[in-house]
Subunit: 482 residues, 2 copies
């Protein structure tokens, strides 16, 4: 083994609590989820990372089918004139759009590389939608997105190209649009909590933070161990602005022309960053069982005389657990200890060790990745125990993150406490006027904190805004974010 | 219903044999597989078309898993300097590359939008591969591809953006590379014949037609009803040229440094065009059962008094056929006749009609989309019969296309017959020197025909080349192509 190889195969060299950004990068590189790319601002999703994305896609495609959303694919090029049709949208996205110069000599219109697909999709919607019978229209696409934001990539969290899904729906009524905007947000919450073990806070974005061109934006926000929020998915009620701009209308049951209501909603490969940051530890990655590409690593402990018998037993275990993703590692050029480290680094939820003595005793050794707990399980109980443990790991990861989030919330009416809590990386829950200028000023004074979301269904509180002292009708969550 | 709507809902207005390009466009637009895009040279894959692509992806992802190929995702931006590293590759692709101007002020290198990903991937391969233990490396990606070729899009067949898969493998030995280059070609053949009902001719590409930078290119070619070839998938043995250019090497078991061998292989959404053109007819789309998003349409014949009973029976049928994709159409605003036309246009392989009289007689009516045949089936035999019919439709489509292909082959040593056969849109099988200049001249004289492929395992024929009269060691298939 070369020096270089040895060095790379060592564990994480910093602690999560000491240097989170460095730790985060090392976990991703060393577990081979992703790699830096030679093209500035971009990243490479390696097979292990892509397998997680595939699991997320598979799960969500099932949900889309259930909700009658169809997948499609629209061009990645968007003519400049399309962008300009919806003024707020154009203004909001213009700093981060990448353009290609049209190579056609007879057409000099610049083409944008999609930073989001509202405009290119709604041009077709105007063609396709004629009657109330064509509604609701629900289309999703999985694609790459280009936003020329950063020079220095933050793996999975911020890069000039990323993968996402974007849903785009059209409805007859405002009520229906509102209902489904929140329904898809609920789908995101279910994905985050039930599949990725990420607790989230739900609510509306402020005027300043909403999507460019939306009536309002709803969001799920997860709170990271270092005290920063990470936006995990947004669902926008677009109102009728795009329908007006793109001339989408339909003949209603009353045989008159109407403007429809629209929504769009998306989540991206950023979710993988959230998983890594939330759950992983100083030994490497920790994956929630439902999206782990390998859920169980079976490691036969090999001695010359009992090798065949042990490998056979490991294979039996694989067959018994065939509803899970199981990897049996029989490689002889690596020691059992080396393999333990490897699967810890890769965040495999359960490790099963089986040696000749275990076979004799009719037992297996199971080690949990999340707690490190080592259990001696009767061979006959293996199947039940594995199910129980995987469920338990999911719940434990979710609870731990939830506990941290709950403990971090500081509710206050005092600007001093607000400032101190933001400084301490807390979630600050405070009365807020909701105005853009006020939020700008909060951001400046706190060096980066802003409102993350305004919970739904609040009582009218009649308080003064935490910052400007104007009337505030709502409490909002504030904090720093990725 | 508006005039416009009525017009669009009419059937295909030209016959396949009279005006194939117009017929082809109408089938795609009216069955809603795809649509023209406002961005010149690009197209929109509508939900019905994307569902077919999803079926192809699902099937092929299974095969990739079986063959130990992992999916990943690399950046779509490729630095100009990467392109230039492999000279032939750079030259071959340069006319059709689209560039973006780098927005970073401190970096003026142009970035290409990937026309294929060899260069961006192999830069990382050089980093990742160190030892023989890292080989074989087999990575695939599903992504969008940009080639600035045409102004006028040919739906699914030629557009500036399309979707594909590209596999990129690295091996220790030439032998292994050779073997797997052809193994993946065999996978393509199996996909075409067993899933898409497309018969293909297999072989190597000539020097002129091979992939830019490859040692050789292997191909599967399908022959369309209008007498033109359509390339359906290619697998390239890249030799060691890219490994040299990108400095990929590995330490072998002998502890010395070696250059590895590489292959790449891909197919695209073009396959959907091949399916449409090969199987469809004057009534609209005809889909092979294995990739039909809806395999069976159940249409209950509704009368006021027996409506509930009939719908219940239709639902029972759906449950009974739950291993298939079944759609029960109970809409009352459309007549049964309108629905028959609709599902014919959309190419649904089987239509089941069930009315009160059928229920009484304990039968169902089944209509095959491929032959139009109407069968009265005992209700009790439905499940077996459906399986049999779907298999039969697949075989019938494949056989029909195969028959046409076989009948079109003209084997000749005479230049006169060659010219006449090309003119008659035949597949011409003729001795060929294989030289690029000779092929250029053939293309010119025939107004577009070239060698499509050179079958494997030919006896040494020792003939004169059909065109230039030089020595020819092989027979090749010639014809015009899409």
């Amino acid at each position: 083994m070369s020096k270089k190889q040895e060095k790379d195969e060592k564990g994480i060299t910093v602690k999560k609590k000491d240097d989170m950004p460095e730790w985060y990068g090392q976990v991703i590189i060393k577990s081979k989820l992703a790699d830096y790319s030679p093209v500035r601002g971009t990243m490479i999703i390696r097979p292990y990372g892509y397998a997680i994305w595939q699991k997320i896609m598979d799960y969500f495609n099932q949900r889309l089918k259930e909700k009658k959303v169809d997948n499609a694919y629209f061009p990645m090029f968007i003519p400049e004139s399309f962008f300009k049709k919806e003024a707020e949208h154009a203004e909001g996205f213009s700093p981060e759009v990448a353009w290609i110069q049209n190579k056609d000599e007879d057409s000099k219109e610049r083409l944008a590389l999609r930073p989001t697909s509202e405009t290119i999709m709604y041009d077709s919607y105007a063609k396709w939608i004629r009657s109330h019978r064509d509604l609701p229209l629900r289309i999703n696409q999985w694609c790459n997105i280009i936003r020329w934001e950063v020079k220095d990539v933050k793996l999975f969290l911020r890069s000039r190209e990323f993968l996402w899904q974007e849903g785009h729906c059209v409805y007859e009524t405002e009520e229906e649009c509102d209902k489904e905007t929140l329904m898809f947000l609920d789908e995101y919450e279910a994905l985050a909590q039930n599949i990725l073990a990420l607790p989230v806070i739900k609510g509306k974005k402020s005027e300043k933070e909403k999507f460019a061109g939306a009536k309002y934006t709803a969001t799920i926000e997860s709170f990271m161990p270092d005290g920063k929020f990470l936006q995990c998915g947004t669902s926008h009620n677009l109102g009728q602005g795009f329908a007006k701009a793109f001339n989408i209308n339909y003949v209603g049951k009353d045989e008159k022309n109407h403007l429809p209501w629209q929504s769009s909603w998306g989540f991206s490969t950023r979710l993988i960053g959230a998983i890594v940051m939330q759950h992983s530890d100083d030994k490497g990655l920790v994956l929630p069982p439902k999206i782990a590409p390998i859920q169980i690593a079976v490691i036969p402990i090999l001695f010359d005389k009992t090798k065949e018998k042990t490998i056979n037993e490991a294979e039996k275990i694989r067959k018994e657990l065939d509803r899970y993703e199981v990897k049996v590692d029989t490689r002889e050029e690596y020691s059992a200890g080396w393999k333990f480290n490897e699967y810890e680094m890769k965040g495999i939820p359960l490790r099963i060790e089986i040696g000749p003595k275990d076979i004799e005793k009719k037992q297996v050794v199971i080690v949990r990745r999340d707690t490190g707990e080592k259990l001696f399980i009767k061979r006959a109980n293996l199947k039940d125990k594995v199910k129980e443990l995987l469920d338990d790991i999911h719940n434990h990861l979710l609870d731990k993150a939830h506990e941290h989030m709950k403990k971090s919330i500081v509710e206050t009416d005092s600007w001093e406490e607000f400032m101190k809590s933001v400084e301490d990386r807390k979630i600050v829950f405070a009365p807020f006027c909701g105005e853009e200028k006020c939020e700008d000023s909060i951001k400046e004074k706190t060096k980066g904190a802003n409102s993350r979301c305004i919970p739904f269904n609040q009582k009218n509180i009649k308080k003064k805004c935490i910052h400007c002292g104007k009337e505030a009708n709502v409490y909002a969550y504030f904090g720093k974010c990725y």
